[in-house]
């Protein structure tokens, strides 16, 4: 069931075009992310859904209702703010119960609801504490409980994890996914962290310059980015120049340094026409061939140019004849597998299935 529907949404701040023709539909129960660099309009889009910003043109419908002229206090949405916006003069329980002030409930019912909400975010027994005495992670949980206690149709999260340490952030990612499944509420997450978006979302909209560049599930987005821009933003990608000779169910393409290849049409998710094209290869789809190793894949001679050791992985930059920029590839550090030195002559195994033809 479609819960949120945006059609033709545009927004200007003076001369600045903050949102460009946004069309999107979000399903009931979906974990949806708006991903993009800072200034791409993702937070503005979230704030128009929440009702803090008016739309210039276009419409926003939530649960079938047009939201034009409906204030944030009357929308079936609640928000977790980037700064958490915990009321510093109130206790934890008063913060969580803030939205129940106008609810038609007895005092006992409210107290119970607050207790349950705190329990849900793992802060049972913290109700009496002062909001100022909490750690960053705890404040985040209070903000979540405060928003979820009203059982909104949509929970909006504005970079909720960006202020946390890496360890706590990763832990909260998992907890948020669990929580979302538990309550079954639609979550819309704004983030600039592509890894966070990939880990948490059912679907991701990648935004650039106020418009949506691509909207897909995480796997499709990673494996088949439509444009070079999306491919650059999500994960690491090598880019090669090429020339498309013929299109069809199989695309004939000449790739610099790798020669003539024939790739399936699904590896060109963006529109591709005969002529020059940009080709992407993920580092993990290439591998080094160590001495004496053979492969059923294609191989090409290379020289190690740079080695970066990460513990579980090693990233190599290798030079291949005919390609001006070194190719980046990653190898798992399995037992007995050596780490090569800079300057080592080696071979790289590759595969036509790992090529992605990128549109513009």
């Amino acid at each position: 069931m479609t819960l949120i529907q945006l059609s033709g949404v545009n927004k200007h701040f003076g001369d600045y075009h903050a949102l460009r023709d946004i069309d999107l539909e979000i399903q009931q129960g979906e974990f949806f992310s708006l991903l993009g660099p800072s200034g791409c309009g993702k937070t503005t889009l979230l704030r128009t859904i929440a009702g803090f910003e008016d739309v210039g043109s276009g419409s926003i419908r939530i649960d079938g209702r047009d939201m034009k002229g409906v204030g944030p206090n009357l929308r079936p949405t609640n928000m977790v703010f980037q700064s958490y916006a915990i009321f510093p003069h109130l206790s934890v329980a008063e913060n969580v119960g803030f939205g129940l002030r106008r609810a038609d409930m007895t005092r006992d019912e409210k107290t119970r609801a607050v207790g349950e909400a705190l329990e849900m975010v793992g802060l049972g027994g913290y109700g009496g504490r002062a909001a100022n005495a909490l750690s960053g992670g705890q404040r985040q949980r209070v903000a979540l409980a405060r928003a979820l206690i009203l059982k909104p149709k949509v929970l909006l999260l504005d970079e909720p994890l960006s202020a946390l340490d890496k360890k706590i952030r990763e832990q909260m990612q998992v907890e948020l996914i669990k929580l979302q499944r538990e309550v079954g509420i639609t979550f819309i997450l704004v983030t600039h962290d592509q890894e966070e978006a990939l880990v948490m979302s059912d679907r991701i909209a990648v935004m650039f310059d106020g418009g949506i560049g691509q909207m897909d599930d995480p796997e499709t987005l990673y494996r088949r980015p439509r444009s070079k821009r999306v491919a650059q933003f999500i994960g690491m990608m090598n880019f090669l120049d090429g020339e498309v000779a013929a299109t069809g169910t199989e695309i004939e393409v000449t790739v610099q340094g790798l020669g003539r290849c024939s790739v399936a049409a699904e590896q060109a998710p963006g529109a591709v026409a005969p002529g020059p094209v940009s080709i992407g290869i993920r580092p993990e789809t290439l591998s080094l061939l160590f001495e004496g190793e053979t492969t059923t894949r294609k191989e090409v001679a290379a020289v190690v140019d740079e080695v970066v050791y990460y513990g579980d992985m090693t990233y190599y930059d290798v030079r291949v004849d005919g390609i001006e920029k070194p190719l980046t590839l990653s190898m798992k550090n399995l037992i007995g597998r050596p780490v090569l030195d800079v300057g080592t002559q080696t071979r790289v195994a590759w595969d036509e299935r790992s090529l992605v033809l990128l549109g513009h």
Binding site: A85, F98, R101, R102
Partner: protein, 267 residues
């Protein structure tokens, strides 16, 4: 470094030594203000309580100071609130002009107000005219204190209250107001103190009902009354220090409540 330290000490002596003379002579058992001191007495304070004209002047001053404090704080809240909102045309020059009375010579303000009130509007001089003028000179202080209180607030706090179902007014009442309350109290106390001992404007604009400072000035013509003035001054200084200390404590409490670092203040 050493020179600077001597300078600082000398500065403090010149500033505060005369003030310490006030209680000294207020409790001194002699008609004339001169050393050596001749004994302890509370006679001059008793004299204060018997002086009906002085009591009327004190009552006048308290009414004026209280009204000024409330008016200038309410106007200050409006101005500080407007300053935290998004940019509107002429916001910067307007805020600058509001702060101007802070540096305008009071005598100029007093004379021009006298001309405007009496000649232009044809009104009589009364407590109301002094209240209006005192509000004018207290407002920059109120705005300075309240601006700090409002600008320290995360704008997301108000949005969070809206998001949780409150109207604009109830969000202001439930979230913004309690958080800026220390600033409001601080502004009330500072305006009250400024108005209470303001002389020049009150001297020009008071009619048949002098304020306390104006009355004290009148007493100076009678040397025999000087120790009474000293007693009055002692009470005033004590009151001013107490009020300003409370104001500063409230300001600091406000910062602490909002979880912020101290970046200076009046004390």
């Amino acid at each position: 470094m050493r020179g600077l330290r001597i300078y600082a000490i000398a500065y403090l002596v010149f500033l505060y030594a005369p003030i310490f003379l006030l209680p000294l002579f207020a409790f001194n058992d002699a008609d004339i203000i001169a050393f050596p001191l001749s004994g302890f007495t509370t006679h001059w304070f008793e004299e204060l309580t018997r002086n009906a004209a002085l009591q009327a002047a004190v009552r006048n001053s308290l009414i004026i100071a209280a009204s000024t404090a409330v008016l200038s704080t309410i106007l200050g809240i409006c101005a500080a609130r407007a300053a935290t909102m998004a940019d509107w045309p002429l916001k910067r020059p307007m805020m600058g002009l509001i702060m101007l009375p802070l540096v305008l010579p009071e005598i100029i303000v007093a004379v021009s107000l006298l001309v405007v009130i009496v000649q232009v509007f044809g009104l009589g001089l009364s407590n109301a005219t002094i209240i209006a003028a005192h509000t004018l000179i207290c407002m920059p202080f109120s705005i300075a204190v309240l601006n700090g209180a409002f600008q320290n607030l995360d704008p997301a706090l108000e949005e969070a209250a809206l998001d949780l179902g409150e109207s604009r007014w109830s969000a202001f009442r439930l979230v913004i107001l309690p958080l800026v309350m220390p600033g409001i109290i601080s502004s009330l106390l500072i305006s009250f103190t400024i108005s209470l001992d303001e002389f020049i404007i009150a001297f020009f604009l008071s009619g048949a009902n002098p304020t306390m400072p104006v009355y004290i000035w009148g007493l100076l013509r009678f040397p025999g009354q000087l120790p009474v003035v000293m007693a009055m001054g002692t009470i005033l200084v004590a009151l001013s220090i107490i009020l300003l200390t409370i104001a500063e404590l409230m300001r600091r409490r406000g910062l602490k409540r909002a979880g912020l670092k101290d970046t200076g203040g009046f004390l």
